[in-house]
Amino acid sequence: MTRYFSQEHEWIEIEGDLGTVGITDYAQGQLGDITFVDLPAEGATFEKGDSVAVVDSVKAASDVYTPVSGTIAEANDVLADQPELVNTDAEVGGWLFRITLSDASELEALMDEAAYKDYVASL
């Protein structure tokens, strides 16, 4: 399993042609208390960079962009009742959706964990 990060503060963990996507712990800290997550429908197809989910915090609504193109395989329905999981467990239990990649080469444009850490430190 390999994990990549985007400049928009999403993480994606790859297993075969399936990617699990969430927002990073840094991102949830910036957003504050998350009160609602709007998730994509299974089977929907998106291009890399499309807005596929919305994370609502007390202060604002934020788009979540998919870091890769593909088809939604699953959404994390647990978040309907427990949106705060994105705060408390952003990079494990607070995952947002799973996407079947249509072009694995898109991963090359993403950062690894060390590069993402450097990127956050530079902000």
Partner: protein, 377 residues
């Protein structure tokens, strides 16, 4: 991921570098996350909006509102001059009493809302931060030469809000517990001269504390040393006032709308409504007599997704209004909003819907305040 922050229409339109308030360093030292608001750097949150909000409702929150404009208006004939400028009845405003009023334009549109306090030798007026420069210019146009307007820009303004605010403040400024809602007085707070009123913008009991700017950090330290008190940012200030049904200038009221439509008729005192003689009186009197096409209402939303400013309101397929403030209510644990809708659809319980990012979500007209006020009357 990208963020749509709390609408920034309060900011000065010019791209000026944000100004710093007396407590700027204090906020940073206490972990405040600073953002630009109304031309100043202000703390949007410390430990988190939800926790700060709930702390204020159960204990006491300390807010820095020094961006607001503190004015002192005095001189020969100041009562008559101020009555010509505002729809306020000063004949019923006693010494040290505080009253809500409105600055209206010639067409009766709301330029700002403000608090007027009668002091021994004039009137202490607090206006919104984003509008204070325009307000000062408007007052200069409206007030005669014998009347002087001083901008007390060397003073800071703190608010201590919540059910335990009185316990904390009485310890430091003995005598404040005897004030009732919308009453004020001069006190000594840790050796610092302070003008303190029992008022606020959260729906809770609490106080607003005007002090010299150079003593602000010292006073803030004293207040924060009380076990009841935590620092609270602008984010919770917004969610608290929304639950309290209190409109925010530039969002829930603006020059396009009059006080009747905005649900601020109480800001036009009865004698003035009958007699007129203030800017925009004709339109205000007509609105009282004939009603308005739209009204400001509260909405309780279904589900958990919040409606934000600018979301359109529907009745069936018909667009009937617009959301002017909205968010998730920390106290009620569901989204709430303020909106303007057609007056015929303003009754409590009316079923409407709101277009949120392309989906129509159910909402019901609800009485405000959403959370009961707990003023000390």
């Amino acid at each position: 991921m990208s963020e749509y922050p709390i609408s920034d229409s309060d900011q000065e339109p010019e791209e000026l570098a944000p100004m710093l308030l007396p407590l700027d360093g204090w906020h940073r030292d206490h972990g405040g996350r600073m953002v630009e608001f109304a031309g100043y750097m202000m703390p949007v949150q410390y430990e988190g909006i939800m926790a700060e909000h709930l702390w204020t409702r159960e204990s006491a929150g300390l807010f820095d509102v020094s961006h607001m404009g503190q004015l002192f208006i005095s001189g020969e004939g100041v009562d008559a001059a101020l009555e010509a400028a505002l729809p306020i009845d000063l004949s019923t405003l006693k010494l040290a009493s505080v009253r809500y009023s409105l600055l209206l334009d010639e067409n009766g549109g709301v330029l700002d809302d403000l608090m007027v306090t009668r002091q021994e030798d004039g009137f202490y007026v607090v206006v919104n931060g984003a509008t204070k420069w325009d307000d000062i210019a408007t007052f200069h146009e409206l007030l005669p030469e014998d009347v002087t307007l001083n901008h007390l820009d060397d003073r800071a303004l703190l608010a201590l809000q919540g059910p335990k605010a009185v316990d904390a403040l009485e310890r430091l400024a003995p005598g404040v517990a005897a004030l009732t809602f919308m009453k004020s007085g001069r006190f000594t707070l840790g050796g610092v001269e302070a003008w303190i009123s029992r008022s606020g913008y959260t729906g809770e009991d609490g106080f607003e504390i005007s002090i010299p700017g150079d003593a602000a950090a010292e006073v803030a330290d004293l207040l924060l040393a009380q076990s009841e008190v935590k620092p609270i940012g602008l984010g919770a200030r917004d969610s608290l006032r929304l639950e309290a049904g209190l409109p925010l200038y530039g969002h829930d009221m603006d020059p396009e709308r009059g006080p009747v439509e905005a649900g601020l008729a109480f800001g036009v005192n009865k004698r003035r409504r009958l007699e007129g003689g203030f800017p925009g009186a004709e339109r205000v009197q007509r609105d009282f007599a004939e009603g308005t096409a739209q009204k400001r209402i509260g909405l309780k939303l279904e589900g958990r997704q919040a409606a934000r400013e600018g979301a359109k309101v529907f009745h069936g397929e018909q667009e009937v209004g617009i959301v002017t403030s909205g968010g998730f209510s920390p106290s009620l644990q569901h989204p709430i909003a303020m909106a303007y809708v057609d007056a015929a659809l303003a009754a409590d319980g009316t079923a409407l819907s709101i277009d949120i990012r392309g989906k129509k979500l159910g909402a019901t007209v609800a009485a405000m305040p959403f959370v009961p006020n707990r003023y000390h009357r």
